[in-house]
């Protein structure tokens, strides 16, 4: 019974890694017929604007807010980078939007809502908790709990087996003793 435990922990790791995001979102049929060369392109991805602000933000608080937001928002062109990390031109444009909106006095939530309205929850590095994402948030904990449960059961069973073995050994031991006693008496 040790193998299922190993398999379940492996399953937990794999499941976490392969869980499609956003879980349970509308079916996204693959555009399998699209030629390999036909991947969507981004305009002039060579432009190295860099993650720094353009200097239009006056106060240190505004700059701190800008940097925090840029770290929390996803670049949609290079999907595993934040807006702050990305050199893609679209990321630069979106960073500029963030700056302008901070200047216009919008709150962090309003700025995030502005981007979510256009690009969906995917722009947020920390997806919100809702019906389509509860598996994403709670799945790892559920698997941990399941693994713990299996481990506990395996432990309990092997302890019970050990106790039974010991009891049997003790019983057999006393039989032997008795036999020896009987033989000795003879």
């Amino acid at each position: 019974m040790r193998t299922p435990l190993a398999i379940i922990s492996l399953a937990a790791a794999l499941l976490g890694a392969s869980l499609p995001w956003p879980a349970g979102a509308a079916d996204a049929p693959a555009a399998a017929s699209a030629p390999a060369t036909a991947a969507p392109a981004s305009p002039g991805a060579t432009a190295a604007t860099g993650p720094t602000d353009t200097g239009i933000l006056g106060s240190p608080e505004q700059r701190a807010r800008y940097h925090r937001l840029a770290e929390e928002l996803r670049c949609l062109v290079c999907q595993n980078q934040t807006l702050a990390d990305s050199n893609a031109e679209l990321a630069a444009d979106l960073r500029h939007q963030v700056e302008n909106q901070i200047l216009a006095g919008r709150s962090d939530d309003e700025i995030k809502a502005y981007l979510v309205q256009r690009y969906g929850d995917f722009v947020l590095y920390r997806p919100p908790m809702k019906s389509s994402t509860w598996l994403l948030w709670l799945g790892p904990f559920a698997l941990l709990l399941l693994g713990g449960l299996v481990w506990w059961r395996v432990q309990r069973r092997s302890r019970a087996a050990q106790a039974a073995d010991a009891a049997r050994a003790a019983a057999e031991g006393s039989d032997l003793e008795r036999a020896r006693r009987l033989l000795g008496e003879q």
Binding site: I7, A11, L15, P20, A26, A38, S42, L90, V116, G120
Partner: protein, 177 residues
């Protein structure tokens, strides 16, 4: 209990395999747009061939139409272009081009070389309108209905398959209702 020893690992394997298989089928570039079913954002942009003139989507009220986001710098746009040329020839569906972050001269030269399927092309030189449409890579194409509501979005080239099996059936349905 003996049987469980065999069944459990197989079941776990099946679950993992199912998730991995689904992962293969999914294109991470295809992000579900939150704009489907919402009114297409309004804008006013200069017409590429006559920059003194402004154009707004209001002009398309009452029609089902395609808004195609492209740029002369975009190689994948050349892949879908013949499909749009044929569609324009058939007259089935009006196509409006949005030249994204592209200088009008470059857009015009590109269209002269590869053909112009668009009833009108507008220039979004700074890319602000594209952001309102949630565009993150060209080409992207939106199907907009008579009431100005976005019904479908294609990320990446519109292939003949996508046009015949997704876009045109939806167009017929929208016109029917």
């Amino acid at each position: 209990m003996r049987a469980m020893r065999f069944v459990l690992p197989v079941a776990v394997f099946a679950v993992i395999a199912w998730f991995l298989m689904r992962g293969l089928d999914r294109d991470p570039r295809e992000i579900p747009s939150p704009l489907i079913g919402k009114p297409a954002p309004m804008f006013s942009l200069p017409v590429t061939h006559d920059l003194s003139r402004a154009w707004t989507p209001e002009a398309m009220r009452g029609q089902v139409w395609l808004l195609n986001v492209w740029g002369s710098w975009c190689s994948a746009c050349q892949v879908e272009h013949p499909v749009f040329n044929d569609l324009a020839k058939s007259g089935e569906l009006p196509i409006v081009g949005l030249a994204w972050k592209d200088m009008p001269d470059n857009s015009i030269a590109w269209l002269r070389k590869l053909g112009n399927p668009y009833m009108v092309v507008v220039s979004d030189i700074k890319g602000g309108v594209a952001i309102d449409y949630g565009v993150y890579g060209a080409p992207e194409t939106f199907l907009i209905d008579q009431h100005g509501v976005i019904r479908f979005k294609q990320v990446g080239p519109v292939t003949r398959d996508v046009l015949q099996n997704k876009v045109l059936p939806m167009v017929r349905q929208l016109r029917g209702s």
